[in-house]
């Protein structure tokens, strides 16, 4: 490779190196099989352990819902964080792959948010006596789903890709204010939803292993699918360029 004329941005060197689509394709292609295998292992062992736990003394067998509800919620919020960081990289440093990465993550964010809401409703009915209540945690989480929908709709609504990327990045950053609201909602307002219970040690140790494995499994699942989506977007862009060249 020839050396660049401009001085490299030292502090961002690492990020920019792997932002090169070529380099990303090479690296992601190499690590993908390992991510896929790790995902399958975590989910398989997590499910095995999850269905081996004794019933909770308060929540009975519904405690098994925790192993799919909490991971979905955490990934739903994590994906939004990922989109916000990518948007910042795109707006401030013009990071070349970050728009593609942010856009590729959004459908998975929406999916995990929907799963969090559905599994939560199905847990709420037997424990609270209702599928839904307009309290702070549930409402701010529903807002997250609408943020994902709005973000994806905005990408599709603006034809010019550079302008779409700019507008979507701004929307994503403005919407990021919702993430701490979701997280702290159970402390700030009195809600039906239980408070934070993992870090504060309120969960019986026997439930922790399956919970962490399922969380890791969900995170790895997202990372695996996200990488494939980014790879797909890179190939689609190459195909578009080739078609434009042929048409010119």
């Amino acid at each position: 490779m020839t050396s660049r004329t401009s001085k490299p941005r030292h502090e961002m060197n690492f990020l920019f190196r792997y932002a090169n689509p070529h380099e990303f394709m090479r690296l992601s292609g190499a690590v993908l099989p390992f991510f896929a295998i790790a995902t399958a292992l975590c989910l398989a062992i997590g499910l095995y352990l999850g269905f081996s736990v004794p019933p909770d003394y308060q929540q009975g067998t519904t405690v098994t819902l925790m192993f799919i509800h909490v991971p979905a919620d955490i990934v739903a919020m994590m994906v939004y964080g990922v989109i916000a960081v990518c948007s910042l990289l795109s707006l401030v440093w013009r990071h070349p792959l970050s728009d593609t990465a942010a856009r590729a993550a959004a459908p998975f964010g929406a999916l995990f948010t929907a799963l969090g809401l559905i599994t939560g409703a199905l847990w709420g009915k037997p424990m609270w006596g209702t599928y839904w209540v307009w309290d702070a945690r549930l409402t701010s989480f529903l807002l997250l789903l609408f943020l994902y929908f709005g973000y994806m709709a905005l990408w599709n609504a603006i034809e010019d890709e550079t302008r779409a990327a700019r507008a979507c990045a701004i929307l994503a950053l403005v919407g990021a204010v919702n993430i701490p609201i979701i997280h702290f909602s159970v402390n700030w307002w009195s809600t039906l939803h239980q408070g934070e219970s993992i870090m504060s040690g309120k969960i019986a140790p026997v439930f922790l292993a399956p919970l962490f494995l399922m969380m890791l499994g969900y995170v790895l699942l997202f990372l695996t699918l996200w990488m494939v989506r980014i790879r797909t977007a890179i190939l689609e862009r190459r195909a578009r360029n080739l078609m434009q060249q042929a048409a010119a």
């Binding site: 269905f51 819902l65 509800h69 999916l111 559905i118 199905l122 699942l221 494939v228």
Partner: protein, 56 residues
């Protein structure tokens, strides 16, 4: 392993079912899109050789 969820089964199994369907659906959707993009690019990379201007 214990799959006897008692009376709560009516809430637990649909939750697991929906999650499994959604995850499998996401995997299939992602892989189909990847294969399609790869196939399209392969076709495009092949065609210009005969039709495009000779490379310099």
């Amino acid at each position: 392993m214990n799959f006897d969820m008692g009376a709560y089964g009516v809430y637990i199994w649909p939750a697991y079912g929906v999650s499994a369907l959604a995850i499998i659906g996401a995997i299939v959707w992602t892989l189909v899109a990847w294969r399609r993009a790869k196939a399209k690019l392969a076709v495009l990379e092949k065609t210009p050789r005969g039709t495009a201007a000779p490379s310099k």
